[in-house]
Symmetry: C2
């Protein structure tokens, strides 16, 4: 069964790690957000691609969520002592190897798609990982700081450097309108028997992908086969800052609010919510969506596999 | 007292570390070989500049000689698992920070001279460190492998990657003839009261510097104030592969052979040899050189300071 997944970073990684417990990874294509990509110390860093790669490879740090298990940060600590630009972004020593390898491949003419495949291969990842696009697309956050000054921040500046302390007025995906999907991405959606929207931040992780022309239409064309997993449980994100970003798009911070955000654009046919959100089921079904409930807290691969099994059932139930 | 030093890597680093025990580092300008510089993983690596910086900063690894104390090699080990080009060159995680910082500065328009000064400043090095040139100069080794095939190797390929196992036919300094000395380097030699030729590999470390137009003439003009320390003790180098390279230039592998190699070009007025080489003293004096003997094995900073004191005395004794 061919499966396509649309993914952000950590939440997607955990979910996909569960998915490959129940399906053959060779059947899976994952389309990953690159709006968070950033040049750090001259290196091309792709946080979401790396999170998904590390989770699928089984080398992710489960406690921290991002980065690799058994990681050290000696180079970054030294760069911080140098007061090097960008050293607020913590890169582990093992992780650094990935960025050096990717940057070198791209300097030699490889596109991000090719570099991503090469890295995945090195980690023994059998699923096909695709960046959403080979074009540079950057998620920028328009914000206001405590002094009332307006700020135009790279997403990582907003999130990592400034700890999400600013009031967000809006999010833009610079370059998206003139970008095109990575080779094979639209085809993967068109030909999949199940399309899964991972439990990722709708504004910061999924919307950048949808902003690249082609993806929204490709999902809408297959909407009955598209099932999403709510990243919001009990009115709050499990991690990250979706609670701060959703209101800027007029979205209620709830499993029902996010369902409506996707359903309103005709992108999904099914929606998996956590058992604690039972009360929201009628509102979600009223959107015309099929709904299933389970414990969506992915404490380990087994729990993630359960969530993936439910999402897959919901997508496949969408018929042909 | 203003002092200039002409330096390669590890031997120079140890010696200069001794020198700053007995003179103010702010009086010292060090001109360092960059013929070994190499791009690794897209980063500008300057092995000799880094060795000198780390030794002067007191963060060098005394046992290993090169690189930093308390170093780890996690990024390199990962890159080796990736089979990344150039990963035969072992870069420590702390050391990596230096290369990232340098490469970023240079990508932003800084020349190697400026990047070197910025790095030295970050390490609290008060001596002025200058690359021999801001131009790309590369030491290439013409060699023949065991199968009889001719090879054209970067110096680091010859030394680190292939472990100096090939027969060397000659050494070339590509780009040197059209390079010019780094700003301030010739002036430092012209105005110094003492000029010290560090105990570095004559062929691989000092000759690249001399191949850049201007340096040989600048030293010759001050030759009575130039004192060198023999890198050869008892007929062998203390470390490195000078014993394999010296014969290719027709130089005897001895303290007298290297003295003659420099004196024949009129570059030095004084020569420090190890006590074990007493028998060579008449031959060296016959070259017209002043000679002093001491224990030149620099087992610690104190020992290095003793060697530096002797070299300095010999240089200053050259009069005005």
């Amino acid at each position: 069964m061919k499966i396509a997944a649309v993914a952000g970073g950590v939440g997607a990684g955990k979910f996909l790690r569960g998915l490959i417990q129940i399906v053959s990874p060779t059947e899976l294509t994952v389309i990953v957000n690159t709006g968070d990509d950033m040049e750090v110390h001259g290196l091309h860093v792709s946080p979401d691609l790396d999170s998904v790669t590390y989770w699928l490879a089984g080398v992710a740090d489960r406690e921290r969520g991002w980065g690799r298990a058994d990681e050290t940060f000696r180079a970054t600590e030294q760069l911080r002592e140098f007061h090097a630009d960008g050293s607020w972004f913590g890169i582990g020593d093992l992780d650094l190897a990935t960025h050096l390898f990717r940057t070198r491949l791209m300097a030699a003419g490889e596109r991000l798609t090719g570099a991503t495949a090469a890295i995945a291969e090195r980690f023994g990842v059998e699923a096909r990982l695709l960046p959403m696009t080979d074009y540079p697309v950057t998620t920028r956050v328009d914000a206001v700081d405590q002094a009332g000054d307006t700020l135009d921040l790279h997403f990582q500046e907003y999130w990592v450097k400034r700890g999400a302390r600013d009031d967000v007025k809006g999010v833009r995906f610079v370059g998206a309108a003139t970008a095109s999907p990575a080779p094979g991405a639209l085809e993967a959606i068109a030909s999949a028997e199940a399309i899964l929207l991972c439990p990722s931040n709708p504004i910061a992780s999924i919307d950048p992908i949808l902003a690249v022309p082609g993806f929204a239409a490709a999902l809408a064309a297959r909407r009955e086969r598209v099932a999403g997993v709510s990243p919001i449980v009990g009115g709050a994100p499990l991690r990250g800052m979706a609670d701060k970003l959703l209101p800027t798009a007029g979205v209620e911070v709830s499993a029902a609010g996010v369902a409506a955000y996707y359903a309103g654009r005709g992108l999904i046919g099914g929606w998996v919510i956590d058992e604690t959100d039972t009360a929201l089921e009628p509102r979600i079904e009223a959107l015309g969506l099929r709904t299933l409930m389970t414990d969506t807290i992915m404490v380990d691969d087994e729990a993630a596999a359960r969530v993936a099994r439910v999402a897959l059932a919901l997508a496949v139930a969408g018929g042909s």
